[in-house]
């Protein structure tokens, strides 16, 4: 097991180097001068411009800039945004907000998705199952921003249950509606995944054997049907983490949540290289860690998979 984890951590190194390089290169290749954009309509003083260029190493070739950036990272310095605020400070401010949003969404989609999928699978072909299938199909096929606008309109304006935009500080009760929106697509996928694996598990030989031993439904369903059906769902949750991050960017934009996604989006628009690269790098690292955890959890759920 420790050897397996070490291997996975070592794997993360080339991934980390590759992604930072790729993102840095793309930001570098973006057209337009980010400094000129800062000055807007004013014509900047050429001396000041040259000084700023030197400060942000913008007058150096690409590889040198990348080198400065990488050496900074290993000293815990993620660079400074053009507004003068260190990127680490921006991360520290925005990250907890997004983490709260993502965890709420994760809990909603897994708990509700597995519960609905289980009932659906056990009552295959009945009214509940049919409705669950229709609702999940709608959620999958409608883009997330449409769901977000509908939710804002219905729950925020018509019913008045929630605020349509989230203020600064992002209080947790304001994040409930965005979390539901963010969870919606994955919820639908999990319902369908759980449903089909529950249906499959019900007709397996080992479930029949479990009944033949004299066990009741109350035991067979959680222990032999649900437990085995969770394996594909957990796998999905791992890969789904990326979708969650992308969804967070859109949802945060619509609900005006001061989180990672929102900040990243603005940084891309303004061409703030250090901020974009740092944010994406952190996201990539997070993705790697989450998937490592999922793989380890997978080994716990399915003893046939052993890490040596």
């Amino acid at each position: 097991m420790p050897r397996y984890i070490l291997g996975r951590v070592l794997q993360a190194i080339p991934v980390f180097l590759g992604t930072t390089f790729l993102i840095y290169f793309m930001v570098f290749a973006m057209p337009g001068d980010p400094l000129l954009a800062l000055f807007g309509d004013k014509t900047p003083n050429p001396a000041l411009l040259a000084q700023l260029r030197a400060q942000y190493h913008l007058d150096q070739p690409f590889l040198v800039q990348y080198w400065y950036y990488m050496t900074g990272i290993f000293q815990g310095n993620l660079g400074v945004s053009f507004s003068g605020e260190p990127v680490t400070a921006i991360l520290a401010r925005t990250f907890p907000v997004t983490a709260r949003l993502a965890i709420m969404a994760l809990v909603i989609q897994s708990v509700a998705g597995i519960a609905v999928g289980l009932v659906s699978g056990l009552r295959k072909g009945k009214l509940f199952d049919a409705s669950a299938l229709v609702v999940s199909l709608i959620l999958i096929s409608v883009p997330i921003f449409v769901i977000a606008f509908v939710a804002q309109f219905v729950f925020g304006i018509q019913l008045g249950w929630a605020r349509t935009t989230v203020g600064s500080g992002a209080p947790t009760q304001d994040l409930i509606l965005p979390a539901f929106v963010l969870a919606s697509v994955s919820f639908a996928v999990i319902v369908r995944l759980t449903r089909s694996s529950v249906i499959e598990a019900q007709s397996t030989d080992y479930v029949r054997t479990a009944y033949s031993k004299g066990l009741g439904r109350n035991r067979v369903i959680p222990v032999h049907i649900l437990r085995n059906s969770l394996i594909p769902v957990v796998t999905y949750l791992g890969t789904d983490f990326g979708v969650l991050l992308v969804g967070a960017t859109i949802t945060e934009g619509i609900f005006n949540i001061p989180g990672v996604g929102n900040t990243l989006y603005k940084a891309i628009v303004l061409g703030q290289g250090p901020t974009v690269v740092s944010f994406v790098t952190v996201m990539v690292l997070l993705y790697l860690v989450v998937n490592l955890l999922v793989d380890l959890l997978y080994g716990l759920l399915d003893p046939r998979i052993r890490y040596v």
């Binding site: 080992y206 054997t209 009944y211 035991r219 032999h224």
Partner: protein, 587 residues
């Protein structure tokens, strides 16, 4: 417990009356059981025999009300101890299951939940039936149950998972679970059909002792008539959802009345091999006379074919001048690197200096238990795997250095047929394309001639030409195996490697395929390497036999010699394990 039953011996433990079961399909309800009557007295053993699809397993599942979702009992009654099980509520039947009726399912690989440890699954059964209370008590009883079922170091293996157990060990676990609460009745659905003959024998002996000791009645389902007759006092023969014949085993075996039972008796290889033996003797004794008088009267047509075919082959092989060796194997060895218990590297000698040769146009059988290295030899012959050392010569040419074009040409002359007719056909390709695929790969002829060849092959394996457009899931197991044979023959090979090619088939289908193989051999002068764990089949098809054990060939001789005068203890053991081998036959 058994004393009270002895006081009222007249009352049957299980009485199935006119049971009807139907399955819901897209074309309405389809009847699977059409009025089944079975009576089983306490403490007795009864076997249900029939081919797959005859309704044996459906009967077993109907008794404990565990039919699959689409199945329903539509008529009749299942009286167990006087209660009609089909009319009980969920709660009531749940109380009977496990506690009063134990169930041992068919496939040990699929019947244990892969995510729970063996101990967990046994303890669960014990707790559900109130056999023991408290953690330690339950665990103690679970270990005891597993030990009784013949699992030696049960206490150490409780924490292990099903995938760490062999098929035989899993079957022991399932038998242990079925018997864990000393039920009055144990239903065993083909408990050993997935296992080697020697393991089968051990498990059945064990099951017999356990049920005898506890006075448990045994309802035992099998497709092997020899096995049924050897193990059960009473026999029920099922065919297409009906009981066609029932009564004392020996009586049915020696004097089958229904035509289906007669065919079944005739086709069972375990019994047929006995017949050949006696048949051969009578050929020698009274050359020219019919193999056995009365055979035709009894309607035993299939067996005559098998017996006379085998006899004719023996003659033919004896009189053909030696045509040289098609396959020659010298000191063939295969060593695998495996990971040991502590992650250290170990080596496993799967095949250990094996030598044999097969003369052109003859059949050699390679026999042994699973794990003896038979299939590894086959894979090396086909160059699907490289030998660690040793030499394989095909028509005198060493195959090891062949590559590219030459290897392709070798494969063209040597074709495989594998065990699992379900797994070896691509479900997304229709039969015509499957059979024609080797022709495409080797670029033989044009589209039209390939099409013609596919039809010719379908004719050769006696399949209708209309089958070309159908898909594997629409075919029966026997038909699929014919397709696999047709595919192997499509390139007109000289050699066919048959790896357990008939092991997964019903006896009647098995007989058909064996006959087809010997006809094709005669017609196309093929060389067969026939790999099997079933010695009964060997008797019917092979000219020579090599017995493998632990990667070595321990005995090699002509079929007659091996059967008539086995030299090795291991071979004798294999021969003894053929079910029904000791039953005196009426013919």
């Amino acid at each position: 417990m058994s004393t009270s039953e002895n006081l009222t011996p007249a009352r049957p433990l299980l009485e199935i009356k006119n049971l009807e079961v139907a399955f819901k399909t897209q074309n309405g309800m389809v009847k699977a059981l059409k009025g089944v009557d079975i009576t089983l007295m306490p403490g007795k053993t009864l076997a249900i025999v029939g081919e797959s699809g005859s309704g044996k397993s459906t009967t077993a599942h109907a008794i404990i009300n565990l039919l699959p979702g689409s199945g329903k009992i539509t008529g009749g009654e299942v009286l167990f101890d006087g209660k009609d099980l089909s009319k009980l509520s969920q709660k009531e039947i749940q109380f009977i299951r496990g506690r009063e009726i134990g169930f041992v399912p068919q496939d040990p690989m699929a019947n244990l939940n892969p995510v729970w440890s063996i101990g967990f699954q046994v303890e669960e059964a014990i707790r559900a039936n109130g056999i023991a209370k408290g953690r330690a008590e339950v665990k103690k009883r679970a270990i005891q149950v597993l030990k009784e079922a013949g699992l030696e170091d049960a206490d150490k293996r409780m924490k292990q998972f099903p995938h760490q157990f062999s098929g035989g060990m899993r079957q022991r676990v399932l038998i242990g679970m079925g018997l864990s609460s000393s039920p009055k009745l144990l239903i065993a659905d083909e408990p050993t059909s997935a296992l080697d003959v020697t393991v089968q024998r051990k498990i059945l002996d064990h099951l017999e002792t356990l049920t005898r000791d506890s006075g448990t009645a045994l309802l035992f389902i099998t497709h092997d008539l020899g096995l049924a007759a050897e193990r059960a006092e009473q026999l029920v023969v099922m065919y297409k959802g009906r009981v066609v014949e029932s009564g004392p085993s020996r009586e049915i075996l020696q004097n089958p009345l229904h035509p289906y039972t007669q065919r079944l008796v005739a086709a069972a290889p375990s019994l047929a091999s006995r017949r050949i033996q006696s048949g051969r003797q009578s050929v020698v004794a009274a050359a020219g006379t019919p193999l056995y008088a009365g055979a035709a009267d009894a309607g035993v047509t299939e067996s005559i074919d098998l017996v006379s075919a085998a006899a004719a082959r023996a003659e033919q092989v004896a009189h053909t001048p030696a045509a040289g060796n098609a396959i020659e194997v010298r000191d063939l060895t295969k060593i695998y690197k495996i990971r040991g218990a502590k992650g250290d590297a170990k080596t496993l000698k799967a095949v250990d200096s094996v030598n044999f040769s097969i003369a052109r146009g003859t059949t050699m059988a390679l026999v042994g238990e699973s794990g003896s290295g038979k299939s590894t030899v086959a894979r090396m012959l086909l160059r699907l795997e490289d030998a660690t050392s040793g030499e394989i010569r095909i028509d005198g040419v060493d195959t090891a250095p062949l590559a590219g074009r030459e290897l392709l040409n070798l494969r063209r002359r040597m074709q495989p047929v594998f065990q699992d007719p379900y797994g070896s056909l691509n479900p997304l390709r229709n039969i015509g394309n499957t059979i024609g695929e080797p022709l495409d790969v080797h670029k033989v002829g044009d589209r039209k001639s390939r099409r013609a060849r596919v039809f010719e092959l379908l004719d050769q394996v006696s399949l209708p030409r209309t089958l070309a457009g159908r898909y594997p899931n629409e075919l029966s197991g026997g038909q699929r195996q014919r397709v696999a044979i047709a595919r192997a023959l499509s390139l007109k090979p000289d050699m066919v490697i048959l790896d357990e090619a008939v092991s997964a088939l019903d006896v009647l289908v098995q007989a058909q395929i064996l006959r087809l193989l010997s006809e094709l051999q005669e017609e196309l002068s093929l060389t067969y390497l026939f790999i099997t764990h079933d010695l009964a089949v060997v008797r019917v098809i092979a000219d020579n036999v090599s017995v493998m054990q632990g990667g070595r060939i321990v005995e090699a001789a002509s079929t007659d010699e091996v059967f008539g005068n086995p030299r090795m203890e291991y071979t004798k053991e294999l021969l003894d394990a053929i079910p029904g081998a000791h039953i005196p036959l009426g013919v």
